[in-house]
């Protein structure tokens, strides 16, 4: 037998032995459950898209960025893993925002807006009907009739998370009410929000009215922003405690 034939025989025997050993090995243990709680903060608008013009000439894009930075600090101090869609005055496409949120595999996504109309804080969840997600057994009876969604369509990807988005909206509502704020709730179709595969709520900060029904603090008021951010952070702490009870 030539030396090359001997080498091939040894190699084949090694491969066979390796395959046998692999077959006898126990299956790999399932991956450890995700312990970190990821929150995506999406400061709306940016760049050439200024958003609303507020009463004192402030632009919505600046107010949402300031609120995002404030909230990121609060959440970071409470042990959350925070992902933001923008950190500067940059234009970010709604689809890219949703892409960032989806890649982060977040447990909560907050889309931050500000307006001069209305009062208090407006919370919006998607108006899509709930759809069944693969492996999701925590859905209401009505949703169970819907067909299972294996690969969600981009524009209606939020449908699989609507139930959890509504639950998150409820937690945020309770916390904001507890902080003494006027809250309105609604369900709408909002570009970007509909494509997020996470519990997602749009938070729109409107002026705070005083007892005389006049504006006491605008959305750009630092003290008002701090109170809104604190209430949102407290809500997320509660949501995390419900998701991962000790």
């Amino acid at each position: 037998m030539r030396w090359t034939e001997r080498a091939w025989a040894v190699l084949a025997a090694g491969v066979l032995a390796g395959m046998q050993a692999a077959a006898q090995q126990p299956p790999p243990a399932p991956a450890a459950p995700q312990t970190r709680f990821v929150v995506v903060l999406d400061a709306a608008h940016g760049g050439g898209d200024s958003g609303a013009r507020l009463a004192d000439g402030q632009l919505e894009k600046n107010v949402t960025l300031a609120l995002s930075v404030r909230l990121r600090s609060l959440l970071g101090a409470r042990g959350f893993w925070v992902v933001t869609t923008r950190e500067s005055d940059a234009a970010v496409d709604p689809d890219k925002r949703a892409g960032i949120a989806n890649h982060a595999r977040a447990q909560a996504c907050l889309v931050l807006h500000a307006t001069q109309s209305g009062s208090g804080v407006h919370l919006f969840a998607s108006s899509l009907p709930p759809a069944l997600r693969t492996g999701d057994s925590n859905l209401p009876m009505g949703a169970a009739a819907a067909s299972p969604v294996r690969i969600p369509a981009w524009k209606t990807a939020q449908a699989g998370w609507v139930t959890r988005s509504l639950a998150l909206m409820g937690v945020l509502n309770s916390s904001l009410l507890q902080a003494g704020m006027n809250v309105t709730l609604a369900r709408i179709e909002l570009p970007g929000l509909e494509s997020m595969t996470c519990p997602a709520v749009a938070v729109e900060v409107a002026p705070e009215l005083g007892a005389d029904k006049k504006i006491a603090a605008g959305p750009d008021d630092e003290d008002y922003q701090a109170r809104v951010a604190a209430a949102l952070a407290a809500a997320l702490v509660e949501d995390r405690a419900e998701a991962h009870p000790l």
Partner: protein
């Protein structure tokens, strides 16, 4: 020495110039008087060509984010498209009035046209109970107010492809309203999710409350598609009037 004929010619030209100047001045004065007279005779209000009727307007309120039905007595034309335009004009006049609960400038002139077309079937759109909101053809829906119960679906021709409106659908089936707004209205609309949503829902709700066959609404601005109303609410999609009707009297 100037020849005599030149003096005469110069004098004639001078007299002609002065006469033409006087005539021009008089024509200008007459034109000015006609213009003023025309302005004075212009109607300050649209002529009421139809008797007043009770109409329901879904009026938005920014303070609590609600839509409330209000009954108004309005002169409404018989033609459905003109009727829809008059209804929306009255609604936007309320928003343009001082002290409005949902202040938006523009008024009635912001609604350029309203077109009514047979509503196409919306594939994949389902209501919260999992049922299709708009069946493919003439099978009746809650939007049509039960008007199709006379067998509209059974009378549809067998050769009609799914989703295309039959003749019977055009008479009694659900309609799509295309509302053409002015760019001035959209450009001056307050920016914000809630305020934009309330404007669109109140328009959809008002149309459905008075013209129940209107099941879907699409928006144009100066005849062109526009991405958002004022930076937030999507104007490229079709709005379902059923959604606005469900939010009446409550927060959306």
């Amino acid at each position: 020495m100037i020849p005599r004929y030149q003096k005469i010619l110069f004098g004639a030209l001078l007299v002609t110039s002065v006469a033409m100047g006087v005539a021009l001045w008089q024509l200008r004065e007459r034109a000015h008087e006609r213009l003023i007279a025309g302005q004075n005779s212009a109607p300050t209000q649209a002529p009421e060509v139809a008797p007043a009727e009770q109409a329901t307007l879904l009026v938005a309120n920014d303070s609590d984010g609600s839509l409330m039905a209000q009954t108004h007595s309005l002169p409404l034309p018989a033609d459905p498209e003109a009727r829809a335009q008059a209804l929306l004009g009255s609604l936007l006049d309320l928003y343009a009035a001082p002290g409005a609960t949902h202040p938006v400038s523009g008024g009635a002139s912001s609604v350029l046209q309203v077109f009514l077309l047979p509503a196409p079937a919306l594939r994949g759109v389902v209501s919260p109970n999992g049922q299709p909101k708009f069946p493919a053809s003439g099978s009746g829906s809650s939007i049509a107010g039960g008007k199709d119960s006379g067998g509209a679906g059974s009378s549809a021709s067998a050769g009609t492809p799914p989703g295309s409106p039959s003749e019977n659908d055009e008479q009694t089936g659900p309609q799509l309203a295309v509302v053409n707004l002015s760019s001035g209205f959209a450009n001056n609309h307050p920016s914000g999710i809630e305020t934009e949503m309330l404007t669109l829902l109140s328009i959809c709700g008002t149309l459905h409350a008075n013209l129940p066959r209107i099941a879907q609404v699409r928006f144009l601005v100066d005849g062109q598609p526009r991405s958002t109303l004022a930076g937030h609410m999507d104007l490229t999609r079709t709005y379902l009037t059923e959604d606005a009707a469900q939010t009446e009297g409550q927060q959306p």
